[in-house]
């Protein structure tokens, strides 16, 4: 019966969404339970944040320079190349900064987390934690969530600054816009609401990335494949799903924040 199958599919999806929500809520709750996991959080901040600095800088400067280049040749047609600083800064702070940082972190850290948890699952390491009375969500996922909530906004802020510097390199140093005009436009156009909006986006993206990547890795054994193949599938699907959800969430948040 097609209707029955449709109903079963819908129930399965709703149930899965519920499990995602519980997975996140439990991990979030465990962040504040005693004993606090300071050392593990610092280790994860180093892994997620510190080790991503170079790749985020490279991406941000490249995007900033491209924005500067495109923006200049578009604006110069209208004789308003002076607003390049504003265009680059607003594009980065409102949209590209949070989204690109999130996408880069999914590739660098999200995939690693999904694979790590997947391997721990298939080699019974997660079960071993369970048998010791150690909650695997508290031990494995909570520190990652806390570290991502700390790292992503900071990396986003860094990407914004580096991107603006990238725009400065092309607009001012290469194409000859006045340096003072570039930065004064940045200062006058960017409002606190823009920064807060970008910050909120990065917080939400952090939750999406950790929940999706860790959930996929954690439940690798429930997938259609087993062993190494199962881990590879859960890692790939974690990266794809997290990226798609970041893009969708970005659109929804932009429409709400405008």
């Amino acid at each position: 019966m097609p209707l029955t199958r449709l109903g079963q599919f819908a129930i399965a999806r709703v149930r899965r969404m519920g499990r995602y929500a519980l997975f996140f809520l439990q991990s979030f709750f465990f962040m504040f339970t005693w004993p606090l996991q300071g050392t593990k959080i610092i280790q994860q901040v180093y892994f997620i944040g510190m080790k991503s600095v170079s790749v985020i800088c490279l991406t941000a400067i490249s995007i900033g320079m491209v924005l500067g280049l495109h923006g200049y040749y578009t604006l110069v047609k209208f004789g308003s190349e002076g607003v390049l600083g504003a265009a680059v800064a607003l594009t980065l702070i409102r949209e590209l900064g949070p989204v690109l940082t999130a996408i880069m972190l999914i590739g660098r850290a999200g995939s690693a987390m999904a694979a790590e948890l997947g391997i721990m699952r298939i080699s019974e390491q997660i079960d071993a934690l369970d048998t010791m009375g150690i909650d695997p969500l508290r031990f494995l996922v909570s520190p990652k969530l806390a570290a991502m909530l700390i790292s992503l906004p900071l990396l986003t802020a860094m990407a914004d600054v580096v991107g603006i510097i990238g725009g400065y390199i092309t607009g001012v140093l290469m194409l000859g816009i006045n340096s003072g005009i570039y930065f004064s436009r940045v200062q006058s156009s960017v409002q606190m609401a823009d920064i807060t909006g970008g910050f909120m986006k990065s917080i939400v993206f952090a939750v999406v990335i950790i929940t999706v990547c860790c959930f996929k890795g954690f439940y690798t054994h429930e997938g259609s494949e087993y062993g190494a193949k199962g881990v590879s599938i859960s890692t790939t699907s974690a990266v794809v799903l997290a990226s798609v959800l970041v893009l969708i969430t970005n659109y929804i948040m932009t429409s709400l924040l405008l």
């Binding site: 004993p35 080699s123 079960d127 071993a128 048998t131 010791m132 009375g133 150690i134 909650d135 031990f139």
Partner: protein, 402 residues
Amino acid sequence: MKSPIIKFENVSKAFNGNKVLQGIDLDIYQGQITTIIGKSGGGKSVLLKHIIGLLEPDGGRIMIDGQCLTKLKGKARKSLRQRFSYMFQDSALFDSMTVYENIALPVQERGGLTPDEIRARVHTRMRELDLGAIDNEYPSQLSGGMKKRVALARALVTDPEVVLFDEPTTGLDPVRKNSVHSMIAEYQQKLGFTAVLISHEIPDVFYFSQRVAMLHDGRIIYAGTPNELQRVSDPVVREFIQGFENRGGDLADTIHDGSWESHFREEMTRMKRHQVPFALVALTVENLEEILSSSDPASQEVAQRFADRVRVQLRITDTCTLIGPSSVLLLLPFTSLAQAKMVCAKLGRALNGLEIMDIQSRKGPCLAISAGFAEVEGNGHPERTLAQALAQKEIFYQFSVC
């Protein structure tokens, strides 16, 4: 009779329609070592995982200290789990942590001990399990046997009330295997924990297990003491423990075993620990080659029956290995030379029974069996001891149909 600490009541479990457990009823008593035996892939690990709640039963219930495990939630379940330890079949060590971190983790997470106390406790367990200075090694740098011992140290470091061992000695050499078995037995006596052990190490596990349960086709077909197991007439149980599960080939296919030397070394380790000798008996069918070359199927039947009859008559801890085209080697633990001769005399009387007599009406060559004895003491060498046994032949049974 004591009330059981763990009680399975009609527990069933299926995976994708494949029924693995079909109405398990099993009692596990406090302070005892209960060994679960059964064929590989028969659901023993699944049964063990139910005890600690890693798997939930589809039907029936598991009672622990009178509480239904499936109804326990939250803190009650967590505190129950902290009374248990589980040693996984594949060790399940945390591969991104060092050996020290692996062993220390359960006590660190439980809290209540200072770092110095934790260090002392971890190092005590490591020393006891012959784990030298490998604190900073990672599991991937260790051999299979070493990993097993690290996993055992991790399971025992919290002084648990119940320890579940999933094939703790698979992949270990005979000396290490004996050492792990001794560890389990000694710690069990010292700490008094309840142990549930899955093992294929028959008959070794019968030395230290108070109870044995056999899982077959998803059901417990036997549960009792190892001594009672010896008297069980169920053919499935007997076939399993005597180690010849539905052997279809003829004797010539099975004579090149060669595993007796590892049995010998195991017994040597045991003998050194308990200071009790063991005996080797070499039974030789003097004219087996003649029987095997004969085209008369009745002759082969005689050879086959001989080996089977010998095995059936042995004690549960004895091993019987075919070591050559005409020789069967019996390894009798905790047995002196005089006792070995008594065993052989009993064997001779038993062999003089109906099944061998049955061939009287058929044509075939004479069957003559000799026995050579050797008692092993001190530093026995397998080859030399075997040569000694083979040299001291005396005919203990002769049957002629000529």
